[in-house]
Structures are given as structure tokens and as C-alpha cells.
């Protein structure tokens, strides 16, 4: 028995010595972490982030690596699944920072994961850019955390102004998920902005439901009865088709307006013609895009077979921001702590970055100043640019 054991060990040791990976020197690799919801409630968001990141990596590999201070470095992506859960996002960030030695992290996308994950990134002094999180607390008092999109307090008034200017309505209804922080926050901001414009009581119905509800008929009946002219519902793409169809069945005639969480490639597939002609505010419009934005959309479409949603575009921008920040930092020392701080400093200094979702300059909090776009779902089911609104 001992002989067998010895033989196995010796054979194993020899096998190791001649395998290709043994004794390979450790080279300095630039690692970028992607913290995305690959499974859970919103897998399409995770998929979009992953695909955008893979396209970016393809570009870098084509160029033979990322050139920093005259030297080319190999780049690797570390893609972690946060299961759309807060504690998993924290675990994923901790793993990427302490185990994989990532230089910067892109993600998580939703605020409920980005807030706790941002705490971790800031604690370990690692740059984190959340492309899609619109909650102010994600970046608040955290010098190492940035974001790639506008905030809720900006988006609410944009939508309120758009409805007023476009339709001239004075009575609005709101339907939102009370259990999810993003819809709830945006609903509050919208209500405030609307009432400021049209006086108290101009929100004639303020109805809520809970995550994973699928029957909205009682809330929608109230809304239809209230005499509202427009319905604002800042929900995620998986709930919109249900809301829109049920509203139409109950006799709702007015427009339904939404926010950036509508902007997923899946929305029109799920909703069909019921959603044609509706408006929502978002980060970019795919149909009728020009220049670099169009180039990105076409590439993504040929590679993966559908038009990228705003998450993919924002992730792309976030990755380019990281790339620019690394290049601006001037050199990679190989000491990960020093490099992370250098990247953070150069990221904060970036001015007028020309992204595919608009130009960006970071404020001191790490929030970009950028424009919002109002998109119309046209008769072909495409997201068409309608109007843009800048701060």
C-alpha cells in the first residue's frame, strides 16, 4: 500500500514538473473585475455587462495589450456573478480585490448591490465604477467609488418636465414597487418635481405594489378612476409588459412614461406591440445613433445578435474610462496598492470624456455630469431618440 502511495506521489510530482504551467514566471497582468448579476432577477443586465466587457477585451487583445507608459501589458477580465444579491456582491468584490488583485472594478449594476459593494471597494482603496446605479448613496463620501450614469434626483425632474412640455398634462399617476429601492426613490423624486410644477394634489394617484407581484389590477383600476392623464411607472423591464397590458385591458387610454430601467433589449420582446409609442428617459438611444455609438451598436449586434441596451453601453463607457485612467496614471509599478491609488487619482481628473452615452466629467463625489435622453419606442419596436435634456 505504501508503495502505491509513494508511486502516485512521485508520478504526480514528475507530471507537474513537465506540465506547461509549472515554473511559469508571474508577469504583471492588468486585471479588471466585472461584478454583474449573471443569475438572479435580472440576468439580462448581467449578460449585457459581460458581453460589453468581452468586446472591450477583444479590442485590447487586438492591440496586443494595454499600453501604459510605453510598455504593453496583458489584460484579463475577472467576471463574478453577484446573483443579484447584496451579500454576494460584497463577497464578489472582496474576492476580486483580495484574491484576484484587480486594478479596478466595473459594477455592480443595481443600487442595492452597488451600495454595499462600494463600501468594500472604498475600504480596500480600489476604484469601482458602477455603470448603472442611480442612487446617490453609492458614491456618497466614498472617494474610490464612481458611477457612469446620472442620478435619480436629476432623472425625476427631467421626466416631469418632458411630460409637461410634450403633452401639457397637469394630472399624473404613479405606480411603483415599494419594496425595491430604485423605483421607490425615483417615484418620490418624480412626485416632488411634479408637485412643484403643478401644485400639491396634482399627483392624483400614487399607487404601490411589492416586488414579484404580477397582478396590478386593483392599483390600475384606482389609477384609471382617478382621472390621471399620464401614468409614470419607473419599473424594471420584466414588469413593464404586465403593467402596460393590464392597464390597456382596464381601459387606460393615456400615455405611459418610464425611466432608464425600461431600457433593456428584452422589453420589446416581452411586451410586443402594446409598448409601441411609449416614452422613457434613459442614458442613450440605439436607433438613429451616430459615430462611435453606432459603431458599438453594430459590433455588438453582429457579435451577439441583438441591439445592446443601456447597461451594455454604460458598461462599455465605464471600461473605457478605466482604460483611460490607467493610461493617464502613466506607469504600472506592479505594487497593486500604489497602482490602485494612481488610477483613482487620474480617474477623478478626467475631463470631458467622450463616451458613447455622452460626455462625462466627474464631480467631487464621483458622479458624472451628463445628459439624459428621452426615448420613444417606435412602430418597429426600436428605441428611437426623441429629445435630450442636459443639466
Amino acid at each position: 500500500m505504501k508503495k502505491i502511495a509513494c508511486l502516485v506521489i512521485v508520478a504526480f510530482a514528475f507530471g507537474m514538473m513537465f506540465s506547461t504551467s509549472a515554473f511559469s514566471a508571474r508577469e504583471t497582468i492588468i486585471k479588471i473585475g466585472i461584478n454583474a448579476p449573471m443569475t438572479g432577477d435580472i440576468p439580462k443586465v448581467g449578460e449585457g455587462s459581460k458581453y460589453a466587457a468581452m468586446l472591450w477585451l477583444e479590442d485590447i487583445e487586438k492591440a496586443g495589450g494595454l499600453e501604459v507608459g510605453g510598455k504593453k501589458y496583458k489584460v484579463e477580465l475577472v467576471i463574478e456573478d453577484n446573483e443579484s444579491k447584496a451579500e454576494s456582491a460584497v463577497k464578489a468584490n472582496t474576492k476580486m480585490i483580495s484574491q484576484d488583485d484587480v486594478l479596478a472594478i466595473v459594477g455592480p449594476q443595481s443600487s442595492k448591490q452597488a451600495i454595499p459593494a462600494g463600501e468594500v471597494a472604498n475600504k480596500y482603496k480600489t476604484v469601482m465604477i458602477s455603470p448603472w446605479s442611480t442612487n446617490p448613496s453609492t458614491t456618497l463620501d466614498r472617494p474610490y467609488v464612481f458611477r457612469g450614469c446620472f442620478l435619480d434626483p436629476f432623472q425625476g425632474p427631467v421626466v416631469a418636465n418632458f411630460i409637461t412640455d410634450e403633452f401639457g398634462f397637469t394630472k399624473a399617476a404613479v405606480l411603483y414597487d415599494v419594496a425595491s429601492d430604485y423605483p421607490k426613490g425615483l417615484a418620490e423624486v418624480f412626485k416632488e418635481a411634479w408637485e412643484k410644477k403643478h401644485g400639491p394634489g396634482s399627483i392624483v394617484a400614487y399607487q404601490s405594489f411589492t416586488t414579484k407581484d404580477t397582478d396590478f389590477s386593483s392599483q390600475l383600476t384606482q389609477i384609471v378612476k382617478s382621472g390621471a392623464q399620464v401614468l409614470f411607472t419607473p419599473q424594471y423591464y420584466n414588469e413593464i409588459p404586465l403593467i402596460v397590458r393590464q392597464a390597456k385591458d382596464l381601459g387606460w387610454k393615456g400615455p405611459i412614461v418610464g425611466s432608464d430601467s425600461w431600457g433593456s433589449a428584452e422589453l420589446v420582446d416581452l411586451c410586443g406591440e402594446a409598448c409601441y409609442g411609449l416614452f422613457f428617459s434613459t442614458h442613450y438611444a440605439a436607433a438613429g445613433a451616430k459615430g462611435a455609438t453606432k459603431a458599438f451598436i453594430d459590433r455588438y449586434n453582429t457579435a451577439y445578435g441583438y441591439v445592446p441596451d443601456d447597461v451594455a453601453a454604460l458598461t462599455w463607457d465605464a471600461l473605457l474610462l478605466v482604460q483611460q485612467a490607467i493610461q493617464d496614471a502613466g506607469k504600472i509599478t506592479g505594487k497593486i496598492e500604489t497602482d490602485r491609488t494612481a488610477v483613482r487619482d487620474s480617474l477623478a481628473k478626467i475631463k470631458n470624456f467622450a463616451g458613447i452615452t455622452g460626455n462625462m466629467t466627474f464631480t467631487e463625489e464621483g458622479d458624472p455630469i451628463k445628459c439624459a435622453v428621452i426615448v420613444k419606442i417606435n412602430d418597429k419596436g426600436e428605441f428611437e431618440f426623441y429629445k435630450s435634456s442636459c443639466p
Binding site: 515554473f23 451579500e87 463577497k91 474576492k95 484574491q99 484576484d100 488583485d101 419594496a179
Partner: protein, 424 residues
């Protein structure tokens, strides 16, 4: 099988202390040579964090390297040292055997903690996993009191956890932190870590008061009905917190101070194991089992069934509250969505996987579900196929869980293992 039996027999005279010494050596090897030499020569980018599970699943080319690392760092040193140090560890264990059991247990636990701390300290990711696993152990044992020992099917554990998490967070944020919602710190922040246990206990007490809300109207019901009532309670807590904007509502509550480092959580977990073990082996614990097996019969045998059930319920809820408080301070952020049906499924999976009516089973369940969940992370979607499959197989082949109806026998576990004493 003959060889395997012989192999196991070879180590039958190694006491727990010997194993601890072996693990200690392995950790020392990893600590000093793991990164610079061993993982370097094996072509690994870094010390594999969970015995190489993550790297093996991500890059299959690393499998031989990771296995080699495990062999060189863990398996061989542990076996060698454990066996070779017999002459030393057995007499020491014999000496400890003569001391009172509590002293011997504490000495063992301190040694165990030292090894765990060193092992986890190599990487912060390990620390986080160990912390969350220890918290899961508290949760699992506490629900085992209700679902295992008492034989009910309670679904309100996430609710109790939420109450504990919120109450203890409110206390620490109000007293020790300059917070936006609660204003400036009332007491000096330096006192925080020392008074943190009181915040946790307050959270636990609040959770057990909450459990009375379930227990009082439902003590006549059993089985499905209690499951429905307790499930409703969980949703009530969640909805209540969502609609309380003072404590953040659905946006959650963040900024809890870092009062829960590894030693604190370890001490609480050990306290929990000890207290619950004493509880379930006491007369009350036997009464619980009697109520579970036949309520009418136990009533006629002078067991106060109502009091027994209420006590078990509030007691389990108390520990769930403690676990919630620790959880909140580890993540430094909580929102009501965390304490929902997903969490319930996780807790129930841990307790039914590990084994009903058994503390050691709960520990096994909590550790294995946590470690599996983390180790299979690179598989993304397939992880959610593999873990449920394992659960289904456990339910088919061992309907009461892996290790059910077994108690820890600390004296037997810790005793010295001289051949002479074994009668060889």
C-alpha cells in the same frame, strides 16, 4: 476498501489536539512558503483561496497545480504531523482530560480559533466567508430548535433576523456613529465595541418579542398552519420595514460600524452552540422532543406543552436576532429585501441538509451549503442546478439530513487516544 480501512486505522490514535497541530503546521507552511514558493512553482497565480476550488472550475488547466498545492500544503503535512506528534499530543490530551471539561473545551477552542484565524488571515476573502459561515451556523442551530427539536415548521426566521439586524443597527448608529438619520453620536465611539454585545442582545430580545406575535395566536396550530402563519409574519416584517422611511425603507440602512471582526463572531457562535446544546439536553429539551413526538401524550405526562412551545420559539428567535445583528455589522448595509423568501430557502436548506435534531448536523449543514455556494460560484447558472440536486439526493437517501438525531459528546471527542485505553 481494505487499504482505505487500514489507512483510516493508522490515524485512529490521533487525538483532536494532534489534528489541530497538523492543521497548524499546514497553515504555517502556507503562511511562509505558500505564495513565494509552493504556488509559484506549481504555476498558480496566487494562494488558492478555497483549496483551489474556484481556480479549478475557472481554468481547468490549473487542476493539477491546485491538487498538487492541496497535497503539499494541506494533506501531507496534516497527516504526517498528526501521526508523528502522537507521542506528544496524546499525553497532553490525557493531562487535559483530568481537568474539568469546560477548561479542556476552552483550551481546545482557543487552539482551534488560533488556527482558524491564521488560516483566514492569509486572505480577506477567507475572513468574509468564515464570518458569514459562522453566522449561518448560529441561524441554522437556532432554527433547528424550532424545526428540529420541536418538530414544527416555522418560516419566520428571516423576519426574526431582520428585527435583530435593524434593532441592533439602530442602536449602534444612534449611540456610537455620527449618522445622517440619527444625528451625532450620543456616547463616545470608543465605547462602541464594548457595548456592542448589549446592542446585539437588545436585537435578540426584540426578535423574541416579535416571535411572541407569532407564537401567541398560533400555539394551537401545528404543521402547515403554523408554516403559513409564520410565513405571513416574515412578510409582515419585510413590508413594515419597507414602509418605515425613518430607517431607510426599501433603500436600506448602511454605515454600521465594523464591530464584528472574526473573534467576536467566533465567540458568539461558540456561546450559541454551548447554550443551545445545554438547552436541548436539559429537561426543557426533552420536553420539546416529547411535544414533537406526541403532543397529547406529553400533555398527559405533565409536560406543559404551551409553555414549552413558546419557550422554544422565543429562544430560537432570540438567536436568530443575534445572527441578524452580526450579519448587519459584517456587511455594513441591510435592506428588507435581504430578509425575504430567498433567505428562508437558504436557512431551510441548511437545516434540512445538515440534519434535524442535531447541533453537529446544523454545523455541517451550514458549513457545507456556504462553502459549496462559494466554491461553485464560477459555474454561475449551473451552481443553481448542482446545489438543489445535492439537496434532492440528500432528501431521498437521508430524509432527516446528513447527521440527524446526534448530539456532541465533548468528553469523547476531546479525550486522549492511547492504544492502551482502547484495549488493544
Amino acid at each position: 476498501m481494505e487499504i482505505a480501512r487500514k489507512f483510516i486505522n493508522m490515524f485512529s490514535n490521533v487525538p483532536i489536539l494532534g489534528w489541530l497541530l497538523g492543521i497548524f503546521t499546514a497553515v504555517l507552511i502556507e503562511y511562509y512558503w505558500g505564495y513565494d514558493y509552493i504556488s509559484y512553482y506549481l504555476g498558480l497565480p496566487k494562494i488558492p483561496v478555497l483549496f483551489g476550488a474556484l481556480i479549478m472550475l475557472k481554468e481547468p488547466i490549473m487542476i493539477p497545480g491546485a491538487i498538487g498545492y492541496d497535497l503539499i500544503v494541506y494533506v501531507i503535512p496534516i497527516l504526517l504531523v498528526a501521526k508523528a506528534s502522537n507521542f506528544l499530543t496524546n499525553p497532553v490530551a490525557a493531562i487535559l482530560e483530568k481537568t474539568p471539561l469546560w477548561m479542556s473545551s476552552i483550551i481546545h477552542l482557543v487552539c482551534f480559533y488560533g488556527v482558524l484565524h491564521l488560516w483566514a488571515g492569509i486572505n480577506d476573502y477567507r475572513v468574509l466567508i468564515v464570518k458569514l459561515t459562522l453566522i449561518s451556523i448560529i441561524l441554522t442551530i437556532s432554527i433547528n430548535v424550532i424545526n428540529g427539536y420541536q418538530g414544527e415548521f416555522s418560516c419566520s426566521h428571516p423576519g426574526f433576523m431582520a428585527i435583530g439586524a435593524y434593532i441592533s443597527s439602530i442602536i449602534t448608529l444612534y449611540f456610537f456613529v455620527n449618522d445622517k438619520t440619527f444625528g451625532a453620536a450620543v456616547l463616545s465611539p470608543a465605547l462602541g465595541p464594548w457595548l456592542f454585545p448589549f446592542a446585539l442582545i437588545a436585537g435578540g430580545i426584540a426578535a423574541s418579542l416579535g416571535s411572541l406575535l407569532v407564537a401567541i395566536p398560533s400555539f394551537r396550530t401545528r404543521g402547515d398552519y403554523l408554516a403559513i402563519i409564520s410565513l405571513a409574519f416574515m412578510f409582515i416584517v419585510k413590508s413594515a420595514v419597507e414602509n418605515l422611511n425613518v430607517i431607510g425603507g426599501a433603500r436600506g440602512m448602511g454605515g454600521q460600524p465594523d464591530y464584528a471582526p472574526l473573534p467576536v463572531i467566533f465567540i458568539w457562535t461558540m456561546l450559541c452552540i454551548w447554550i443551545i446544546h445545554n438547552f436541548v439536553t436539559s429537561i426543557m429539551g426533552k420536553a420539546l422532543n416529547a411535544v414533537r413526538d406526541d403532543e397529547a401524550a406529553s400533555e398527559s405526562m405533565t409536560v406543559k406543552t404551551r409553555k414549552t412551545k413558546m419557550t422554544a420559539f422565543t429562544f430560537g428567535a432570540f438567536w436568530a436576532g443575534i445572527a441578524g445583528g452580526l450579519f448587519a455589522h459584517v456587511l455594513a448595509y441591510i435592506n428588507p429585501g435581504m430578509f425575504s423568501i430567498n433567505r428562508l430557502a437558504e436557512i431551510l436548506a441548511m437545516v434540512y441538509f445538515g440534519g434535524l435534531n442535531s447541533i453537529i448536523g446544523s454545523i455541517v449543514g451550514a458549513v457545507s451549503i456556504n462553502v459549496l455556494g462559494e466554491a461553485l460560484r464560477p459555474l454561475e447558472l449551473f451552481k443553481w442546478i448542482i446545489i438543489p440536486l445535492i439537496l434532492i439526493f440528500v432528501m431521498i437517501f437521508r430524509p432527516y439530513g446528513l447527521i440527524s438525531f446526534k448530539e456532541i459528546n465533548a468528553k469523547r471527542l476531546l479525550r486522549s487516544k492511547h492504544k492502551r485505553e482502547q484495549g488493544v
